[in-house]
Symmetry: C2
Subunit: 259 residues, 2 copies
């Protein structure tokens, strides 16, 4: 089980779009994949819920009960397609954030849930977590419980500006993990017609070096439309550049992990 | 002196681009305008500082000393062009945010500074405040001290999604003001080629009704380039749609205030 946290405190840099479509492409490549929505805004939930889910069981009960009750997390798992499951979020996640403040080992709850899930026989090749644009307790949970932090970096001026602050926040959690955290970055929203895009992409490449995925995700209106229909790009627009790019990213992720 | 706070906790929805270019267009229309950067990220500062400012005096000393020392705020005012001044930010603003927590009347500091500025003979027609994408103490200061909250709303799917939460945060401050707060919205990043844009714009119009400015800001790469050069659009690209749109917005703002 390889757990990827998609996080960046920068708003609107492509976290949700990446979480949904990377997961969908991994599943399409026969990797059993679980997408976890860890954002009270629940945008990933909207993006995969073609029909509205009434009162979903979210990850909240599992996070609050982590370590106490067995199998609570299983009640939250829903199927999107073959080999592609997800755990929804809703605004209740805000309460979890507030209540977890006083709990012991408050940033370990998610990893306890994931271990529990494994023990109960639910084995995934990949778990992909969509995080909120904030460095709160929920994001701490994702960073503590993952193998890799994938930072989506919007290919626009000042894209790298908040990164030092983000990495500083990660350091705090990294020091508490007993396994090192693999940090990687993926350039998103690349609009090659923009003259400024080339320079920004070069800056991102310089900053991250080998940690930057070779695949850059180009701007493609199909990606925004797909979310509005609640369907991953794999089903919404198979000929789009959005699909090609996320398929290429999934391929790179798989190759990295077979090294 | 008409004070406009440009705020929205949504990241990357056009706050800074609007703050800079609305200010520049107001100044161009002979309105003496002060732009205040209230974001520790200091993106507005970057966007108007053609040459890098070394160790600028920011609004921090004035906020910390508000009510104690006269005229401290004046040391922070710098000139961009004729009739267009600004007060820079830098990462030190984060300390202000933390230290202000324990101060009495912590959300009134900015309005005290602005009154002080008036008493010292610095009279502006407009003060425009660029806020960070967070609902912290600095943003509370902007909301307490302004006449109008201008919400930039990105014209994309889920644009209105966080708005209820933002308005809830405003309510808290509104209840402490003795003057009502004028809330308005402006549609930003409108890409008319996107089929989804029409529906989203209609949703925004329905939601805000008369509170929505008639002017919508279209996507225009010149706006991003201008920030990268540290020059307002009024000087960078006079023929661009970005310039036309912000000039039209400035005209609307002036008309609203002469009613
Ligand atoms: N490659 C792309 N091409 C076109 N539109 C995109 C692309 N990536 C993301 N978008 C659109 O940009 C907006 C922001 O993307 P997204 O929601 O994925 O960002 P986010 O980082 O999850 O935002 P938040 O910080 O609010 O969680 C959405 O409207 C989305 O549909
Ligand atoms: N109308 C537009 N056309 C093209 N690019 C735009 C437009 N408005 C903003 N941008 C670009 O989009 C990005 C985000 O805009 P901006 O910085 O103004 O948003 P913001 O709300 O201030 O972000 P933050 O939440 O980080 O403070 C910037 O790269 C900016 O240059
Ligand atoms: Mg998101
Ligand atoms: Mg900004």
């Amino acid at each position: 089980m390889y757990v990827i946290a998609i996080a960046n405190q920068k708003g609107g840099c492509g976290k949700t779009t990446t979480a949904i479509n990377l997961s969908a492409c991994l599943a399409q490549k026969k990797q059993k994949t679980l997408l976890i929505d860890l954002d009270p805004q629940a945008h990933a939930t909207i993006g995969v819920s073609q029909t509205v889910i009434e009162n979903p069981v979210t990850i909240v009960p599992a996070l609050m009960d982590a370590g106490l009750e067995t199998g609570v997390i299983l009640e939250a798992i829903r199927s999107i397609e073959d080999g592609f499951d997800f755990i929804p979020a809703d605004s209740q996640l805000v309460q979890a954030d507030q209540q977890l403040v006083r709990q012991p080992r408050r940033h370990e709850r998610l990893s306890i849930c994931l271990e529990e899930m494994n023990r109960q026989g639910h084995h995934y090749d990949y778990v992909v977590i969509d995080c909120a644009p904030s460095m709160g307790i929920l994001t701490e949970n994702a960073l503590f419980g993952c193998h890799e932090l994938m930072l989506p970096i919007e290919t626009s001026f000042l894209a790298l500006h908040g990164i030092a602050k983000m990495l500083e926040f990660c350091q705090k959690i990294i020091s508490q993990r007993d396994q090192p955290l693999q940090i990687r970055a993926v350039a998103t929203m690349l609009d090659i017609r923009k003259r400024i895009a080339k320079e920004v992409l070069a800056d991102i490449q310089t900053y991250f070096g080998d940690l930057l995925y070779k695949t850059a995700i180009r701007t493609n209106v199909k990606l925004e439309e797909a979310v509005s229909y609640g369907i991953p790009i794999t089903r919404y627009a198979k000929k789009s550049s959005g699909y090609k790019d996320y398929a290429a990213l999934a391929k790179e992720v798989i190759q990295q992990n077979s090294l």
